[in-house]
Symmetry: C2
Subunit: 392 residues, 2 copies
């Protein structure tokens, strides 16, 4: 705010604020927007008219509010059917794609298993195929905003290069560029980390809505975190922050794929759980769910496995709680399943490790948006540009 | 930016920006301020006049710039002699006080040892005494801004309550209020954590100036961190973030004062170093320095002790680097002394533990402001209000 912003600067900023509000909160009456955004009725009216003219929102009469005289307030909704982004996920064992409307609505989706060891070229092909299929069904008059890709790996913020995705087996792969080549360049393809985008979605519209200090843990073979501190995502110098799976918690422990020893993911990832449960030949989310089910049914070996993993999970969460003093920790991916059956073990160990002041306001949660958080979060990467300046 | 800010809003904001610039960077020519702040010459002139009238800056002719015609640019300096704050530090084994002028200049200082086990009432008395002594020497016409206290403990952001200072031995002590009672209420007394305020000072004017992702480690008996991510301090929900000393790194390790086992500070604090060096009956910074000196002189036992502590230090720093992907790690307190003699060991272990992408732009540093960072940082707690709105 070095020089006085012009009326036009203020208007553009307000347009973004209003559009972001309905994008996150859904249909909202003009009366409520007036209150929430602190703007007067005529300004809200003018902003809504501009956004409607641009095809980004629609307005219609809402229900008459009981006990209030006068006309019912108009309700502003995001144009969820016509304004859309593509969202792509590359997980250890799944490839997923969706077409997602403004407001975070999944309009169409596709999914395929990803065999371990699948190379970039082989993953790009089916993902591009999904987009071609979904594109064929897009209604006339729709507006494409862009595409987002979330991957279980470390992504360089500057250009979206996948620096390292050890559980997927990729190093220095320009996956986004490879996708754009197959899809046809229709707009930006923004690449992000799967835990980061899931964290942002659970923070804006999920299990941690309204909370400014949040740790979202995502587990499969590896473990990563999306961390929100003071309302903003921790990304670090190059975009690689949140690699909590490589926090050493057991220096006398197992060798890790990263070359270090006793990393957190060597104690709480999919492999140690399956090994402890006596199923070292299995892999994948279904195998993890089978152990969790067996534990719930009273299988002693499965119970012991889940308890030991839960103990290490609680220890590492305790470490993070001491570092971040968060309000919420969310267990995503396979850690969700482990949390559901080992919550008491996790909480008990967490309470031993975390200082009372750091943990006294903490809530442990599962994701509200489930596995869709990663898809919706990938779309957010694309929507973000629109929300920053809706009329560009 | 919901409604258009008034000219007056913009002016106050610019006054704060200009005063903050000279507070951090010292005497600056009007020409350079024009460039740095992106404001035109007449605006800089008007802002400077306002700040000078309020007694916050002075102006005088600078040296003529070589090779440039015309009048030499006026140089704007912070009023470091007349505008001041009190700064207090409560460390494990020292009590320190200073009178600090705008711009971060130490104008006067006092220091006393703090015997282990000293209670709040006994610590408050000498600190208040220091302030009474320094106050007697304040020149006529000076302006007192407020006081800041930095303590090696966990401080509740809401009210400055010291929730837990285990190495000092205090629990739930309203130390700030106790000090105000003794000093006389002349203005706000803001309380902060010693690692946090040191981190901010090294970030704004020290070893990490210009870097947005910084971890400042402070060690004595315990270990804490001030963490800056994306240019902002991580404080967490209640203000308790940064308790890295209680990150469990060795679950089979020693019991910690917090009740947990294998916390990082049980491996890198003052006690394990002295124990490994065969000096379990000693304590304090001098004892740590004696071990470091012995190691440098070739004492084998001291070398082994320093090497082992350095190894654990590198491991924990590696964990933090994976979580934060920072540009700089600064070793403060007794960790500075250990870093100076064990840098190779620390770096080697850090490289094993931290992923290449997370560590590839990292610099390991000692504090530029040394132990004064904690005093200057305590004063910043008080100056912050002035900088936010200089003419209030």
């Amino acid at each position: 705010m070095r020089t006085t912003p012009t009326q036009e600067d203020v208007r553009r900023n307000n347009l973004g604020t209003l559009l972001r509000y309905v994008h996150i909160h859904g249909a909202t009456s003009r009366a409520e927007l007036t209150t929430r955004l602190g703007l007067n009725r005529s300004t809200i009216g003018a902003l809504t008219a501009d956004l409607a003219a641009a095809g980004l929102v629609t307005e219609k009469k809402g229900p008459r509010e009981t006990g209030r005289a006068g006309r019912p307030s108009l309700v502003v909704r995001p144009e969820s059917v016509k304004v859309y982004a593509y969202a792509l996920n590359i997980e250890v064992d799944r490839l997923r794609a969706a077409r997602i409307g403004l407001g975070g609505h999944i309009l169409d989706r596709r999914e395929a298993p990803r065999p371990r060891g699948m190379q970039v070229v082989d993953a790009v092909q089916p993902l591009a195929g999904f987009i071609h299929e979904m594109r064929a069904a897009v209604p006339e008059g729709s507006r494409y905003v862009g595409a987002g890709l979330a991957i279980a790996g470390m992504v360089r913020r500057a250009d979206g290069m996948v620096r390292l995705a050890p559980t997927i087996g990729w190093v220095d792969e320009p996956v986004g560029d490879a996708l754009v080549e197959r899809i046809g360049d229709e707009g930006p393809m923004i690449v992000g980390n799967i835990a980061d985008v899931s964290a942002m979605v659970e923070h804006t519209r999920g299990a941690a809505a309204g909370r400014d200090n949040v740790i979202y843990l995502y587990g499969d073979v590896g473990v990563g975190a999306g961390i929100i501190a003071g309302g903003r995502r921790i990304s670090g110098r190059g975009g690689y922050g949140g690699e909590v799976g490589h926090m050493v918690v057991n220096p006398q422990g197992e060798l890790c794929s990263c070359g270090s020893r006793g990393c957190w993911e060597t104690e709480i990832g999919e492999y140690p759980l399956l090994r402890l449960a006596g199923r070292p030949d299995r892999s994948g989310r279904e195998a993890v769910l089978a152990v969790v089910d067996a534990a719930m049914r009273g299988d002693w070996v499965a119970q012991q496995a889940v308890r030991q993993v839960g103990d290490w999970l609680g220890l590492g969460v305790g470490n993070l709680v001491n570092i971040f003093n968060p309000e919420a920790v969310i267990f995503g991916g396979t850690l969700r399943d482990i949390y559901l059956v080992a919550a008491a073990q996790i909480r008990s160990r967490l309470n031993e490790v975390a200082l009372p002041a750091c943990r006294d306001e903490i809530r442990l949660r599962t994701p509200e948006l489930g596995r869709d958080a990663a898809l919706i979060g990938a779309a957010e990467l694309a929507f973000e540009r629109l929300l920053a300046d809706p009329l560009v």
